[in-house]
């Protein structure tokens, strides 16, 4: 799906979006957005915290409507490329059990200059948390599991 050299920036769709059920290879996510036209490359990695508001988290557990999640991640990735004039963008979300310290989500962006790459990564993380049908549970040391469902419903169609 990559654009060829000479395409207008908004028509390029280099990179990928997906979900995995194993450890995220963050170096590979970053490598996916490398390009000779990109002078700024940003990798954001969200990791599982060992405590939340003082409560110990044994692990995070992620569930997803996988086809809709992958479609929404890819729509957001393409939207980010168009909005911020990115050279490339890659997004990977982990599903299943994630022990503290391990990556839950990785977003990589590349742009001619760093400002767009940083802004796009921040925008993408906000959009992912708001729009993608993926759910997180905090598993307590005693085995209790609490699914997190914030106050608002997901926005149909994703993006904004």
């Amino acid at each position: 799906m990559s654009g060829t050299r000479g395409d207008a920036p908004t028509q390029r769709h280099a990179g990928h979006a997906g979900c995995v059920c194993h450890a995220i290879d963050t170096a590979r996510v970053l490598a996916a957005v490398g390009d000779v036209d990109a002078g700024g490359n940003v990798l954001f990695v969200g990791t599982a915290r060992g405590t939340t508001d003082g409560a110990v988290t044994h692990a995070l557990n992620y569930d997803a409507h996988e086809p809709l999640a992958v479609a929404t991640l890819d729509a957001l990735r393409r939207d980010a490329i168009a909005r911020f004039g990115l050279v490339a963008c890659a997004v990977v979300h982990r599903l299943g059990t994630v022990p503290p310290g391990e990556a839950c989500v990785a977003v990589a962006t590349s742009a001619p200059h760093r400002a767009a790459a940083f802004a796009a990564a921040e925008w993408l993380m906000t959009a992912i948390k708001r729009d993608v049908p993926i759910w997180k549970a905090e598993e307590r040391p005693d085995g209790r599991r609490e699914w997190l469902h914030p106050a608002s419903a997901p926005r149909p169609g994703g993006g904004s």
Binding site: G46, L148, A151
Partner: protein, 90 residues
Amino acid sequence: MLSSDHRERSPTLRIAVFAGMADLVGGRTVEMPWSGGTVADARRLVAERHPPAATLLSRSAFAVGSHYVADDAPLAADDDVAIIPPVSGG
């Protein structure tokens, strides 16, 4: 054999559920007899069958395949329906 099974079995709507909604209904799918109707009809039937899920259901969206659908959208028994509660990824 097959045809008599087919005659006796009424159309069934199978709805995929996730995360806290799966805990509340006690499984990964909700099944119910379905002779046709809209998303709003399915929403009401699920709430009647699983009262503990009613509050979260009222804050949830519905999807068919990989598209969200509105409450007035019709649902067929063989549609790939899912309930999408408020999300918390990332």
